[in-house]
Structure formats: C-alpha cells, structure tokens
Amino acid sequence: MVTNSTSGKLFHAANSVFLLVLAILCLLPLVNVLAVSLSSSTAASAGLVKLWPVDFTWKAYAYVLQKPEFLRAFTVSLERVALGTTLNMVLTITLAYPLSKEPAAFAGRLFYVWFFVVTMLVSGGLIPWYLIIQQLGMLGSIWALVLPGAVNVFNVVLLLNFFRNLPKELEEAAFVDGAGHWRILWSIFVPLSLPALATLILFTMVGHWNSWFDGLILMNSPNDYPLQSYLQTVVINRDLSLITMADAETLAMVSDRTMKGAQIFLAALPIICVYPFLQRFFIKGIVMGSVKE
C-alpha cells in the first residue's frame, strides 16, 4: 500500500492536509460554541466572539447548573440512555443469534428475516406511530421513549453477520460438551463479539442521547423532556412577528447566546467523554461484520 515514490508521498501529504482541514472544520463550530458560552452576554450578542472567549466568565454555567429544568432533563436523559441501551442490546443480541443460524437449523428463518427487514424499508408515518403509542398507553412515560425503538434492525443485521463469521467449530465443540443455545450465546458468542457490541452500544447510546423529536411529541409535560428535547425548545429560532409585550420580554430573555452555548456544550459533554473509550472498537466492529468469507 505505502509507496515510497515521490508521487505516492505527495498523495499522502495532500491526503493528510485535506483530512486535517476537514477535521478542523468539524471542530471549529464546537470551539465557537464553547467560546461563546464562556463570554459575557453583550459580547456574544454583538457577535464579537470567534474562537476565544471575550470577557471571560463562568456566569452562564453557574446559571445553567442551578436551573432545575436543565438538571431534570439531564436526569431523564441519563435514565433513558441506561434503560434504552440495556433494552436495545439485550433484544439485539437475542434476535441476532437465531437469525444467524443456517435455514437448515432454524426453519422459519427466512420469514423472520423478511419480517424484520420490511420495517427497515417502509414505515407507517407519524400519525399511526403516535396513535399506536397512545393506544398502548405509553404517552408521558419513559417507556414511550425506549420501547418503540427497542429493536434496531440495522444493528441486528450488523451483529448477525458478525456472529456468522465466528468459527463454527467453537459452537460445535460447545454442543459436544453439552451446552445449550443460551449457554453458547452468552458464554461464547457474546464474549467473542465484544468489538461489535461496543460499536453497537456506542451507536445506541448516541442515538438515545441525541434524539429529541419523540420527547417533544410523546411527553405530556416539559418536566419529562429528555435533555435534547428541552434544548430544542431553548435554542430554536423564534418567530419574530410576535406582538405582545410578554412575548418580547421572553425573547429578550431567551436570546442570550451564552446561556444557549453553555447548555449545548454541557449536553454534548457526556458523548464527548464516552467516544474516545469506545471509538477504538468502532471501525473494527463495523468492518468485521461486513465481510463474509
């Protein structure tokens, strides 16, 4: 792969510069938000803050961290991630195992595979989705946030392919030694699939942490909003054709950019912390599931 010719080196250098610039472009908005959140609010509203805080202050963070709404939403989000990720992973693992078997070993496999794959291709739409959740009585409870998306078919397919690549001999040996399917799944398949599982855990956690729309629609009170739904209501661009004084006062209050910045940054923090630890499995996990020998 690596060539020592001049053109090869040149290509390599150009590649590195290109990717570096791309990485910096991705990083800059985040740095800007951080700088805004640490600046005085007048400097921020005048658009003077670029990449370094102007009139450095912790005020926005001090305010946000004592704000009950923010803390409550943070707790709801943590709860959702813990519950949702556990549920997702258990269901994904138990579903991927039987589907990874040959049709000879599992008679209804083809039917089940299509049964799940169809949901990847078509969906019912917003209103039917809402009606189902409503009629199952989940509106307003945390279950509305974790149960409807508890099986992610894409993740199942990923894990299923990973399972198939594990040496069959291990499984056969285990059978000979008297292990059942459960034992084989939890004692052999799962420990061997850790890279893939780490990837899926990361996907699921980030997905749960970042989703905001379902929270807005399915919760019956702002007290139950997860963090991103709450943030959406804070940072959304307001309709400026309002006419009442109360609206204008609200606008003057919520247009504080430092506060928005602080909340956005705090909300991104947990994911930023988790990423480096799980990221090293990331590529490995996806690639290993993708190629079939």
């Binding site: 809402y130 509106l139 807005l216 009170s221 702002p222 209501t233 307001r238 309709d239 054709s241 003057a252």
Partner: protein, 563 residues
C-alpha cells in the same frame, strides 16, 4: 472470568424482565386516567345548569366538576414555591369560586403547542377546552367538532365578558362560522406589529444630519451612515439599514421601507375599484424593491443579509455597525437594549414611516387572528368556558379586580397561569398603558396605575435615575418611545394600513399559500441582490398563475359575504 460474565448476563436478563413488567403496570395506570373520566361527568348531568330553566350564571358547581384542557409554558413562566401550572392561584380560584377542577392532559413548551395540538386532533383525543390557531379552528369548525357558544355567552356571560367579545368586531367575525360563535376570540391589536423606524440619533448628531422626514432623507442618512464612518473607527465597515433573509416580520422589518413607497408586502389592501388585492404584486412594490436594490449595490445593506435570520442580523446592530432598522414597538427590549448596553454612547430614536411623496405613509399591519379558545362538541359542561372567562375578567379587568393576587406580584406573573389569558383580556390595549404611564411619570404619582403599568413605571424611574439597563422599557412606554410615536401617528392620524382580510384561511390558501409565500420571498430577495428589476413583471404573472388569482377571488368572495 467466564462465571462473572454469566452473572452479568443474568442480571441483564432480570433487568429486562423487570423493565417489561413495569411497562405493563404503567400501561395499566395510564389507561385508567381517561377511563375514570366519564363516570365523574355523569354524576353531574343533573346539575342546575343543564336542567333548570332559570340559570344563575354565577352558580358554583356542587359537587365540583372536572374540565380537561391542554396548556403551554415557557421559560418566562415562574411559579412561587410549591406552585405549578397544575396548581396555582388561578386553579385554586377556579375550584373554590366556580367548583371547576382543571385537569391538564398535557403541557408543552410554547413552540410545540401547535404540533402537539395537531396530533391531538388527528388522534381524536380532544380535551374539553383548548386553544387552536386559525387553521385548526377552520378544520374543527368544518368537521362540526366545536360547541356553539352563542347561546352560552347570552345566558352565562357577565357584562364585561360580553363587552370583551363584542369589542373586536373583526376578531369576533373570525371566530364565527356559519353564523355561530364557536370560539372566544382574541383581543384585537393592530399596533403591536406595525413597523417603526429606528435610527441611531447619536450618529445623526455626529454627522450633522436632520431627522428622517421623507424617504429621500432616509436614503441620504443611510448613505452617510455607510460612508461617513459614524462609529469613528476609521474603517468603512458600517451599514445604513438592517435586513434579514425573512425580509419582513418583527425585526428587522423591511415592510416599513416598502410602506414609505405605499407598497404593502403580503397583506390584502383595497384598490381604487374597491376590490381586495394583494400588496406584494402591486406596481408600488417594484419601486420599493428598486430602491432596496440600489442600497444593496452601494453597500448600505449587509452583503450577507440573504443568509441571516433575525437573531443573526441583530448581531451587527448590537455591535454598532448598523444605524437604521425598521421593526415593531418591542424592538427596544430586544435587540436595541443590547446595543445600548454594549455602547454607552448609543441612543436610538423611534420615528414614524417616512413618505416618498406628499402623501403621508401608512404602516402596514397584519390582521390575522391566530388563537381561539374553543370547546369540544359534546363536552359535559360547555358553559364552563364562559364562567372561566367571567372569572378572569372579574379578577383582572373589572372594578373589583384583585391584581396583587391574580395579575402579578414580586416578579411572578400570575396572569400567565390563567386559562383564556394570552391576549384575551386587555380591554384598553398597550396604547392606554403608555398614556397612563407617562401621565404618572409627569405627575410623579403612580397611585392610579394597575400592576402592569406600575412595573413599567418603576423601570422608567430607574432609567431616569441613570440605569441604562432599563433603557428598553423607557423607549417602549416612555416619552418619545414606540407608543408615543404610534399614538401620535398611527392612531391619531389614522396612518395604519390594516389587512382587509381577516377570515380563516381559504381553501386556496391552505393549498397554495406556502408556494406563493416562497415565490414572493425568493423573487424579492433576488431583486434586492441584483436581478433585473423587470423580472418583477414576470413574477406578478407567475404569482397569479400559481394560485394567486384563485386566492384573490376567494378573498373577494369572503369580502362580499361579510358586508
């Protein structure tokens, strides 16, 4: 190692099992909620209101009834300790004085209300009493899902309630469908959204310029603000006029500029023949756009305005790089207050719309009513809405009003918690608030003021004492502020161009308005950015072809029916 793994797995399995069982029990309890309602309602069918012929409008429900509703809150809602949107002075008053227990089926943050309401309508899970926008109102009215309030207002309405409903004739007709009053209409307020001209008066002094009386003055000032280095930093980096990608609305509002040329964007006006026509496609608009194009070309308008929303556009103004903007009466609170805080020398003045010719210019004002309180068809106690409105008017507006307990006190705005509150109950409007406040400031006697006025009075006193953080309130209500200009010009000289159409959206609008709005915005932006000015003519014919003609006919039919 292996054993440890297995234990973890076992725990995971148990956790899931637990999770699933709690899910089930949870399902049970939520289902009980709505199911428990009908019996509660049935026990009340023999209450005096439905059976006895003689009706006492003030009768308290005994036993108490339950009314379901839905609410929104936002970050400006603050509650005393222990209170919430479900339990506060108003809900307690409803229960103790009327025997009505209010139950909130859901509560959302402000901006999500409409979306959530749409889902409630789609899933047919309507509360007894709720607020809708014009489009939802029309849908529900057509589907016959709303209770007729006409006889109820007659039987149960207090004098004040009737006055509040009758006061706004246009609003009332917007809340009427098929001759029946189906909603409590919102208050009429045409001044709140009308554009004013805001000018950096300290820059005017510095560059020795006159105040803008005509559009020519305005163009001269804009040029001087751009090239004359008004901020004194030796660089050519300031702009004459603020603009955003939305062109009009609250801030910055270029409709004010167009009004100077007697052009009215997106509202319905009467032409010489007495027919209603849309202001966006009239020849005056071409002139106004031509002027804006010249200003853009000579750098008087931010080169990047086409990608900036109002909040982003405000940054330039706050940073002291823009000297003029058009905008609504609340602009001093935001964004001008930020500019004044940022720069100790900054001072903004409010001016009426200058005119391009001898005829005084009129400021345009939308007339669409967009919030209606309605009662679901078949609600057990439809008259409750009238009783609630009676109570609200009684506590806030009437002679026996109790503002300290029900309006606001110590920074808690109690009136926001009330049902039917938002814009439904200011009988005199903000113009009279302004008049009372400046009279009190002149006399230095706040004793006759209601709490809302008193809070503005206090802020103005702080400003006069040297607190620049209160500059905004003073500029809205104080001397030479927004309302002073609105009162002296838009009200007293009748220089306000209201949209002549205020009905519910017509079928053509529901179908095509969004496309037309986009066409208007795109064409106008392109022309300002430098497209040939004659493209306006082909735009006008496109506009008519793409549905404008149909809508114009519908609007005129509506207008003929109305009178």
């Amino acid at each position: 190692m292996n054993r440890k793994r297995r234990n973890t797995c076992a725990i995971a399995v148990i956790a899931t099992a637990l999770a699933l069982t709690t899910a089930c029990s949870n399902t049970g309890t939520t289902n009980n909620g709505p199911a428990a309602q009908p019996p509660a309602a049935e026990t009340n069918t023999n209450s005096p209101s439905t059976e006895t012929p003689v009706i006492d409008p003030n009768a308290k429900y005994d036993p108490p009834i339950e009314i379901s509703t839905v609410r929104y809150t936002d970050s400006s809602f603050r509650f005393p300790d222990g209170d919430s949107i479900d339990n506060n002075v108003w809900t307690r008053a409803y229960e103790s004085e009327l025997g009505i227990q209010v139950k909130n089926l859901w509560v959302v943050n402000g901006d999500q209300y409409n979306q959530k309401m749409n889902l409630s309508i789609a899933s047919k899970e309507l509360p007894d009493l709720f607020m809708v926008d014009a489009k939802q109102f029309r849908e529900l009215a057509e589907a016959g899902q709303l209770e007729d309030l006409t006889p109820l207002v007659e039987q149960y309405g207090s004098e004040l309630t009737k006055e509040m409903i009758e006061r706004g004739t246009n609003a009332k007709s917007a809340a009427t469908y098929d001759g029946k009053l189906l909603a409590i209409p919102p208050a009429e307020d045409y001044y709140g959204g009308a554009p004013l001209l805001w000018v950096r008066t300290d820059w005017l002094d510095k560059l020795n310029l006159p105040e803008p009386k005509t559009m020519d003055d305005l163009l001269t000032i804009a040029e001087a603000f751009t090239t004359g280095d008004p901020d004194g930093d030796g660089q050519n980096n300031s702009y004459g006029l603020a603009a955003s990608k939305d062109l009009i609305g609250g801030y910055p509002d270029l409709s004010g500029f167009m009004n100077g040329y007697h052009a009215y964007m997106n509202i319905w006006i009467k032409d010489e023949s007495g027919k209603l026509v849309n202001g966006s496609v009239q020849p005056e608009m071409k002139t106004a756009l031509g002027k804006l194009q010249e200003m853009y070309k000579s750098g008087q308008i931010d080169k990047e305005f086409g990608v900036k929303d109002g909040g982003k556009a405000a940054e330039l103004q706050t940073a002291g790089k823009v000297g003029m903007s058009f905008g609504a009466m609340w602009n001093p609170l935001w964004p001008l207050q930020d500019s004044v805080t940022n720069d100790p020398n900054a001072e903004w003045g409010a001016f009426p719309i200058p005119s391009a010719d001898g005829t005084p210019a009129s400021a345009q004002s939308k007339a669409d009513f967009n919030s209606f309180w309605v009662v679901k068809k078949g609600a057990a106690h439809p008259e409750a809405i009238i009783k609630l409105f009676n109570l609200y008017n009684d506590k806030i507006v009437s002679e026996q009003a109790d503002p300290a307990n029900f309006h606001s006190k110590d920074g808690f705005e109690y009136f926001k918690y009330a049902l039917l509150s938002n814009g439904f109950g200011t009988p005199q409007g903000l113009l009279s608030v302004h008049k009372n406040v400046i009279a009190a400031v002149a006399a230095e006697d706040p004793s006759g003021l209601v709490p809302e006025e008193k809070s503005y009075y206090d802020n103005i006193q702080l400003y006069l004492g040297g607190d620049r953080a209160q500059w905004g309130t003073n500029k809205v209500f104080g001397e030479n502020g927004s309302w002073a200009v609105i009162g002296a010009n838009y009200a007293d000289q009748n220089l306000l161009k209201k949209s002549e159409f205020y009905g519910a959206p017509t079928p053509g609008m529901t179908e095509k308005q969004a496309i037309l709005d986009k066409l208007v915005l795109e064409t106008f932006t392109k022309i300002i950015l430098g497209a040939p000015i004659d493209s306006f003519d082909s735009f006008v014919s496109d506009w008519h072809k793409l549905g404008g003609e149909q809508i114009t006919n519908e609007v005129n039919e509506w207008y003929a029916d109305k009178s």
